[in-house]
Amino acid sequence: MSGHAQPHRWIARERLGYGEICAAVADPIQRRGPGRAWVIAFLGVLPLVLATVIAIGAVLTVGIGLSGVNTTVVWGFSIANYVWWIGIGNAGTLISSMLLLTRQHWRASINRFAEAMTLFAAAIAGIFPIIHLGRPLYSYWLAPYPNTMDLWPQWRSALVWDFWAILSYLLFSLIFWFTGLLPDLATMRDRAQSRFGRRLYGALALGWRGSARHWAVYETFHKTMAALAVPLVCSVHSIVGLDFAASLMPGWQESIFPPYFVVGAMYSGFAMVVVLAIIIRWGLNLQAVITPAHFDAMAKVMLFASIVMTFSYATEWFMGWYGGDHADRAVIAYFFTGDYRWLYYCLLFCNCLVPQALWFARVRLNLWALAIISIVINLGMWLERILIVWNTLSHGHAVSLWRTYHVSFYDVVILIAPLGLFAFGFLVLARIFPIVSIHEVSQLAHDEGAARGGTA
């Protein structure tokens, strides 16, 4: 929260040698115990992890009737959660790849955990379509393989697109994350004191030795992956948007959906990165490398995304009216006056109004305010997704089918418990792998002149 001048924009210390950077990132993992906050958090999330497992087990054994879905509102929390989680994942990749391509060096301190966030979020997102299938035991039918039934997947189905989008995205993110991690694993190997640590990191580092020849190829590969990641991320969330837009339902069949989903994903994802950055900065004492300038930059991205989202909502209303179709106009009216109107006003408050506070530098530099705004944005974005599902399905073409959704206990569990699974993944990861990229921060320190004169 220090607003006073600091020596370098992205490094908050006068001098930060390479050895100090390694120590700052690696020592909390290798030299120090987990600490009280970590243990409390770990014990705190364990029940949620258990609840997630039980909820998934229950829906796999009992069936989709556990959810509040009915014959009209056939999609529910699972779909909204899926869109929300995959959106969280998106920003991780965008931060890493887009900022790498545009040579925004400040990404160095946040890209690693943003990528890890992507990995966990995409993995959690992938659970939802499967548990929502109704007959999850046949989920492998989505893959094309020679079978005795002589059947093929229906390539025109949005579900098949989702399957490939998530599969590709998850594996791609894993490779991208591991590539960035590889040189740091070598650092961990070389700093390890225990035999187990040397073996673990030694095996994972794959014999990396920092040769200039290797770096040349490494950089080519990393940049090419970044260049591929940007269209991949946009395509993944566009496909999620197409799940809705490729239908014939009023309020869904809109060509604005794919780009509007991509921006929405970036929006909620950046908000999640801000929350995680605040926690990690505090938890691992990384004030030197995660500076107020980082939060300022991320807050500006959120503000921009908020404006685009507001504009998208307005476009949606305008096109509904301008298109002149009765069902479309009725759904738009239903947004404001229907059964879920209070949630819709909440959504507009969270996504359009609250983030306007980010116009002010004082708000952008106040971590408490930023954390609250980020959580509000994530809440608003979840409301947006559930309302996209509910409003249209509750108010479709056939008047006789109009019904509302009634939230079940299972829905609440499957909404909240995966957050614990996500936190669990992060807590475990933070104890094993460097959560900030050592080699990229060292490079940043070199470029910023903070490492001048070397180290003793």
């Binding site: 590709s168 794959l206 200039a212 020849r213």
Partner: protein, 172 residues
Amino acid sequence: MSAPLLAEFDNPDALVRAMRLAAADGHRALDAFTPFPVPDLTNAFAPPRNLVRPVMALTGFGAAAAMYALQWYSSVIDYPLNTGGRPLHSWPVFLLVPFEFGVLIAAITGLIALFWTCGLPRLHHPLFAIPQFERVSQDRFLLLVASKDTDATALRESLERAGALLVAEMHP
């Protein structure tokens, strides 16, 4: 010809200076080992033919084409299914899966190409036996130079003048 010399520096700029001095004197820089990529070094040591991108492009487009062919074959030839009168060969939506699949395959083969060109993975390397080499991944920058003379004293002195903390002979 004497054994190559390994010079240790505490910052990349001194290393680059030393490399340029050595090159100007006619010595041959063999390799450098650094904790992070240094643009001058990656330019100097970049392999003449970097196969990563061509391999990624080839396999990526190849995989996408194969996936498109699979979609076409399965929905036009092997299992034609009329869904709401849509054409069997629905090319606009058939583009989605090949794109995702192509990117995935490009990423996987790119990683393999990276390992292939770098000679990874390997669990051990003779370089790891050098004292202080474990600091290459942290805060030391090493330069490996082959002297043009049988007596490497001149090169050693030039490296030390450029700021080397330590110069060692490498015996294979």
